[in-house]
């Protein structure tokens, strides 16, 4: 297959992945605001989309981590990257369908590492770099966000004890919208970067860019727009799980949880740590649940999420490995992977249409939730 045609296919697929990432992750930044009634769902997603776009162009540190280090760009081809991406997208769609907030980022790393490992050998994966920039932050960041959110929630409740009801109601809703905005911005600085990194890596492996090059402007802009569009079209299923399944959220708690998660992500993005924003947001929400009351987390739901997290790297890795192996056999292989990927994605979409979750349903359930947990300061 013509190399430039393959590159175009990979770029389009990567942007599609970016779109599903925004689609999948809207809940992270907006779940608490929607749950407490601070923002209406449609307003929330539009607002989040714009801020994701801005965040995506703020920093390219994470993109550089991906294009310049976790796999050996001299040993892989665009076809391998394509296989990895297909693995990531399929895993993402499956977890979206069953309503689990698993990590789009780890799906991407899993797919890329799996495809590279099988198609180009163990040497092509830089495991030391993977541990330093991906695995260690993956474990540390949600813990850090959880601890910070726990302390921030305690402090918030203690300091605002004497605050009058009317001030605290209005104040925390405003504070929460601000912290949700920060969260969307943070999401753009980390997640849109992953697509930029993948596209840049593809351009490098096809010889169109020099090794170690930073992402070109058109790559930055197209990735930013794709994630913003995905965010706008939103993922209502996940909003349900995060917004009410994990812990009951009050406005002060949502404020503390989100400020913590957003800060941790921004600080990590700055250092080039490719985090899972999903994990960090969930860590923040759990920490703040514990900060409010000792039994503030539904551990059974948390356990199910942790299982999905643990599964994501290897599961996406296996799918990515198979897709990468087939795609690297030649033109027919690439076509086969593309057709199969589209077929499975369509099937999942059709399945999801059988019992659609519409924005209206979410409004009703969230309204009931917000009524019960009106700010009690």
């Amino acid at each position: 297959m013509d190399a430039s045609l393959l590159v175009i296919i990979v770029v389009v697929t990567a942007l599609a992945f970016d779109f599903t990432n925004g689609f999948h992750d809207t809940a992270n930044s907006m779940a608490t605001s929607i749950a407490t009634g601070a923002l209406r769902p449609r307003t929330a997603v539009a607002f989040s989309a714009v801020l994701n776009l801005v965040g995506a162009v703020l920093s390219v540190e994470v993109a550089k981590t991906i294009s310049g280090g976790i796999v050996d760009d001299a040993l892989i081809t665009p076809a391998v990257v394509f296989g990895g991406l297909v693995g990531a997208i399929l895993w993402n769609l499956v977890t979206w369908y069953v309503g689990l907030p698993s990590s789009s980022s780890h799906a991407l790393f899993g797919g890329l590492i799996g495809a590279t490992w099988i198609a180009s050998g163990t040497d092509a994966v830089h495991f030391a770099k993977v541990v330093d920039k991906v695995v260690a932050p993956a474990v540390a960041a949600p813990l850090v966000a959880g601890i910070v959110a726990l302390l921030a929630t305690r402090l918030t409740y203690r300091l605002t004890k004497g605050v009058s009801r009317s001030v605290s109601d209005r104040g925390f809703k405003a504070g929460q919208i601000a912290s949700a905005a920060l969260m969307s911005l943070a999401h753009g600085t980390n997640d849109a970067q992953k697509t930029m990194g993948i596209i840049t890596l593809t351009l490098i492996t096809s010889g169109m860019l020099a090794p170690g090059a930073a992402p070109p402007l058109w790559v930055v802009l197209s990735a930013a727009i794709a994630i913003a569009l995905g965010t706008y079209l939103g993922g209502w299923r996940i909003t349900q799980t995060l917004g009410k399944g994990l812990t009951t959220i009050e406005a002060p708690q949502g404020f503390a949880a989100q400020t913590s998660a957003a800060t941790v992500i921004l600080a990590s993005s700055h250092l080039g740590f490719a985090l899972s924003t999903t994990h960090v947001a969930s860590g923040g929400i759990m920490g703040s649940g514990l900060g409010r009351q000792p039994g503030g987390v539904r551990w059974s739901v948390a356990g199910r999420m942790a299982m999905a997290w643990l599964l994501t790297l290897p599961a996406a890795g296996v799918v990515g490995a198979m897709a990468g192996k087939v795609a690297s056999t030649g033109t027919l292989g690439v076509i086969a992977v593309a057709v199969l990927g589209v077929a499975i994605a369509t099937l999942i979409y059709l399945l999801s249409r059988r019992e659609p979750v519409r924005p209206e349903h979410v409004v009703d359930e969230i309204a009931a939730q917000a009524e019960t947990h009106k700010v009690a300061a």
Partner: protein, 74 residues
């Protein structure tokens, strides 16, 4: 297999300090607004409350903007 503990530690340190500062300032702003409300219900002007609240909430915004500035500049 090297893990950059210093970088992970700095994420923790910076996040903790920044978040606790933000939360404290924000809560200070809300307390000041409550004080203003109380002063007004007693017939006062509540100027001190307004001033403190404005200072606290402005400081919040500055902390956030400074953080974003550090990211863009570096």
């Amino acid at each position: 297999m090297t893990i950059d503990w210093a970088a992970l530690g700095s994420v923790f340190g910076v996040s903790l300090v920044a978040v606790l500062a933000l939360v404290t300032l924000f809560a200070g702003g809300l307390r000041a607004l409550t004080a203003r409300e109380a002063a007004r219900s007693r017939g006062g002007s509540g100027t001190a409350g307004t001033a403190t609240a404005t200072a606290c909430l402005t400081a919040c915004v500055i902390v956030v903007l400074f953080g974003i500035y550090l990211i863009v500049a570096g």
